[in-house]
């Protein structure tokens, strides 16, 4: 049983979220402003918080900062502020994820599940040298398997190779030419760059909840691709 705190000044949105997330494993708490959210965290055991930023009284960012003093609970910001600067500020202030309004309900459900899995499984199992873990993404080179938040992913061999290359060098940007040379073990020619780009796209669709706003496999436009370093 997971306790999920939904904090939004709009009761309609709270209700909608409750409907979408309705699951026998989840129970919900509600708060309509930041202060109420902090109080709820103080008095209850919360496993995940969905929080709006713009609220009367205490806003979501201040509330999150307060909550971080009390708990390590995952916080997903759910807000109408969609600018990059807002997202960066939210994530830097301690949020684990960021969803913009109006949201896609399926995406919210997926992200909530992902965060809960990570939160509850965190620290379980000691990393082996052949296992690379970045965020919820785990690549086991012995078994040639990749899991995302504990769930197995079925990747094609080339997709696996690309992911291994990128995860083995987190933070490093690889151009399509380099990827082709290192994965295909061939010098790039003709449409080879296109092949790499298509594979990356498929890979993103498999490992990202929203492929257009990737968390792990980032596109550096005009330069290449990289896997973000673990925080």
């Amino acid at each position: 049983m997971y306790n999920i705190l939904i904090c939004d000044d709009e009761q309609d949105i709270i209700n909608a979220l409750k409907i979408y997330l309705s699951n026998p494993e989840y129970s919900f708490l509600e708060a309509t402003n930041g202060r109420a959210a902090v109080e709820a965290v103080e008095s209850n055991e919360i496993h995940l918080i969905l929080m709006d930023i713009m609220m009367p009284g205490m806003d979501g960012i201040s509330a999150m900062v307060k909550i971080r003093e009390l708990s390590n609970v995952p916080v997903i910001l759910l807000t109408a502020k969609s600018e990059d600067a807002d997202k960066i500020m939210g994530l830097n202030a301690g949020a684990d994820d960021y969803i913009t309004k109006p949201f896609n309900p399926n995406e919210v459900v997926a992200r909530v599940r992902s965060q809960l899995r990570r939160y509850t499984q965190l620290g379980s199992g000691t990393p082996v040298s052949t296992v690379i873990t970045i965020g919820g993404l785990e690549l086991n080179d012995n078994e040639k398997t990749v899991t995302l938040d504990g769930e197995d992913l079925s990747l094609r061999p080339k997709e696996y190779d690309i992911l291994k290359l990128l995860m083995g060098n987190p933070g490093k940007v690889f151009s399509t030419k380099e990827i082709y040379r290192l994965v295909w073990k061939d010098s790039p020619a003709g449409s080879s760059e296109n092949t790499v780009a298509v594979h990356i796209r498929h890979l993103r669709e498999k490992i990202e909840i929203n492929p257009n706003e990737p968390r792990y496999l980032k596109v550096i436009w005009g330069q290449g691709y990289k896997i973000e370093k673990d925080k």
Partner: protein, 660 residues
């Protein structure tokens, strides 16, 4: 005589008119104006030269006839006068022979007069100490022309006419009679023929001269019209001849004319050979002159005839040099200019006064200069300060102030005014910036407030649609609600982005970006989407990496918008082209696709906000038409250029970025 000229002229034309000689005369296929025909031009040229020569010839003849009183004197007297000179020559020669040889050399005298048109000649020395008579008689019949003279042969060996008062020791009487029919080909015969001709034509010559003048003038006008016209085109054309500087041509032509015409003035006009030669030389000069006129006519038709002259070029050269000098002087810094000018004036003053040798004036000049010099430099320095200040203003450095310290009177006023202008403008600019920022902020904030209720609308419409108990119609209406609210969401996002991009309220970080890489990435991203829309994406790019300075994320947004548009509006089953090339230090990225609907709209209108490819704003297509406006603004923010072209159903977007 005219036959002779014609031959000579025909040769001359080819050398004097090379532009005509180069065009072969071929039979005309279509009806062209006569001015375009080469044979007509050649004929006109020849006719002009002949007519001019004829005019001058006839005029000269007329003048000769007039001078020789052909109209008042009877023909017989004219004849006598014409023969007289030759008769005196022959008789003097014979008499000299006879006298010196004391009649022993009769054969010599006979040789002199034999085979000439002299019927008989008697030289009578009876009044002299010699007292002898010599007679020669040919077998020809004597004519009407009889001459008798006194011969005075001791002192001047010259024949004097009867009636002249002569005081001399030795005098001989001479009688000469010429033959009737002038059958010998000597000078008498020639004179006789010429005389007869001139006499018979003494009235006719004016008519011929007049006609020749008219013909010459009309042919000349025709030639001027025809020059530069060719069979091939309606417009006048330059030819080889017009490439020669005109004044050089004039000088050359003048030289040729002088060379040929100068001997004419030396001719006495008494002999036929001289006459023919004069005609020939005149013909050559005329050809050259006429060629020159035609060349000028061609140049005038082509326009700017003075440009291809050495004179113009030389003057132009000097003018440019003068302008350059002025520029050079203008580029010397103000203070230096003033100093140099002041020193020059001082020295000139000193020079003149010094020459006058007046020490007190020299002293005055010196003191005046010493006082005036610092003042001049001060003025120049202040002027420079004001100049720099106004330059800063003009360049938009509004916060720079003119330093009015040390400025006095009007300079200070001018400096203060400049500063006030700067303050005023910078205030206005700040105001404007602030209002732009506020506008963007307003749009952003309103969009946030709209999004919250929108979230509920989207979610609940979704929930209604999923509700199992509802009727089919309710689900359908909910679906419409859901679709339209999704559209509203996109519209709000685009609106915010447009407002930011157009007001420049968007952070752009320019870094080196490989366009090849970006195109490959774009291809990867869009492969599936294109396939779903029934389109084929074809990309062309060079092997070598093309790098530009851009913000990768923003540039991707531009590509994204353009490719997205292609997916939405391109005709299914066609190809979408994406290509990269380099042109004049620019990277050119081109997107091309065939529109599904007719593009009854201009490229400019397409770019404007809220205008979609179809003017009817067909709501079945997605999107809101802001994509192109955003793409354009974003490209410009990164110092690039986006141009749209609509050609029928072909839609083309061209992005240009300077290469690194």
């Amino acid at each position: 005589m005219e036959e002779n000229n014609k031959l000579v002229l025909a040769e001359d034309i080819e050398t004097a008119e090379p532009q005509e000689a180069t065009t072969p005369a071929s039979p005309e296929k279509k009806k062209l104006p006569l001015t375009h025909s080469l044979p007509a031009k050649v004929a006109a040229f020849i006719v002009t030269v002949i007519a001019v020569i004829a005019f001058f010839g006839c005029a000269a003849l007329g003048f000769l006839a007039f001078e020789s009183n052909f109209y008042t004197t009877p023909k017989e007297e004219i004849r006598r006068n014409a023969f007289e000179g030759q008769v005196i020559n022959d008789a003097t020669e014979a008499a000299n022979e006879l006298y010196h040889d004391d009649f022993n050399g009769k054969d010599h005298a006979t040789n002199i007069v034999a085979r000439k048109n002299i019927a008989y000649i008697t030289i009578d020395f009876s009044e002299d100490i010699v007292n002898k008579t010599w007679t020669y008689k040919s077998d020809k019949e004597a004519g009407d022309d009889t001459f008798s003279f006194y011969l005075y042969n001791f002192d001047d060996h010259y024949i004097h006419r009867v009636g002249d008062s002569i005081k001399a020791k030795g005098i001989a009487k001479v009688f000469v009679s010429l033959t009737r029919d002038f059958s010998y080909g000597d000078k008498y015969a020639l004179t006789n023929t010429a005389l007869n001709l001139v006499y018979s034509m003494r009235y006719m010559t004016y008519v011929v001269a007049f006609v020749a003048l008219i013909v010459a003038l009309s042919c000349f006008i025709f030639l001027m019209c025809a020059s530069g016209r060719h069979k091939t085109s309606d417009k006048p054309e330059a030819s080889f001849g017009t490439k020669i500087p005109f004044d050089l041509m004039v000088v050359g032509a003048m030289a040729v004319i002088c060379l040929f015409a100068a001997p004419i003035t030396q001719f006495r006009g008494r002999e036929l050979v001289e006459f023919i030669l004069a005609m020939f030389l005149m013909g050559v000069s005329l050809c050259v002159g006429l060629g020159l006129c035609m060349s000028l006519a061609t140049r005038v038709k082509l326009g700017g005839w003075w440009k291809n002259t050495i004179t113009f070029k030389v003057l132009n050269f000097f003018w440019r040099g003068f302008k350059y000098l002025c520029k050079l002087i203008g580029s010397i810094p103000l203070v230096w200019k003033t100093t140099i000018a002041a020193c020059l004036i001082f020295f000139v003053d000193l020079l003149f006064v010094g020459l006058a040798d007046e020490p007190e004036k020299v002293m005055y000049i010196f003191i005046r200069s010493v006082l005036l010099f610092p003042a001049l430099i001060y003025v120049a320095l202040m002027l420079r300060k004001l100049l720099d200040g106004s330059k800063d203003l003009a360049e938009g450095n509004l916060d720079k102030q003119v330093d009015t310290k040390g400025m006095v009177l009007d300079f200070k006023k001018a400096g203060d005014n400049l500063n006030n202008v700067g303050k005023g403008i910078s205030l206005a600019v700040d105001e404007r910036m602030k209002s732009e920022r506020m506008k963007t902020e307003l749009i952003t904030n309103v969009s946030h407030d709209i999004k919250t209720p929108l979230t509920s609308i989207i979610n609940y419409s979704d929930l209604i649609a999923k509700e199992p108990a509802g009727s089919e119609k309710i689900a359908e209406y909910a679906e419409v609600l859901h679709r339209q609210s999704e559209k509203l969401k996109r519209l709000i996002d685009d609106l915010v982005e447009t407002s930011k991009a157009t007001t420049g309220n968007l952070e752009v970080i320019l870094t080196p970006v490989s366009v090849n890489e970006l195109l490959s990435q774009a291809e990867g991203e869009y492969e599936q989407k294109m396939e779903a829309a029934g389109l084929t994406l074809i990309s062309n790019m060079p092997e070598e990496t093309v790098s530009i300075m851009a913000d990768g994320r923003r540039l991707w947004r531009v590509f994204d918008n353009l490719l997205n548009n292609a997916c939405k509006y391109a005709l299914s089953g066609t190809r979408v082209y994406m290509s990269l090339e380099t042109q004049d230090k620019e990277a050119v990225i081109t997107f091309k696709n065939t529109s599904r609907d007719a593009l009854n709209i201009s490229a400019e209108e397409l770019m404007e906000r809220f205008v979609r490819g179809d003017k009817s704003r067909n709501s079945t297509t997605e999107g809101n038409g802001l994509g192109l406006a955003i793409a354009k603004s974003l490209t410009e923010l990164q110092n690039g250029r986006l141009d749209l072209t609509v050609d029928g159903d072909l839609f083309k977007a061209e992005i240009r970025f300077p290469l690194i």
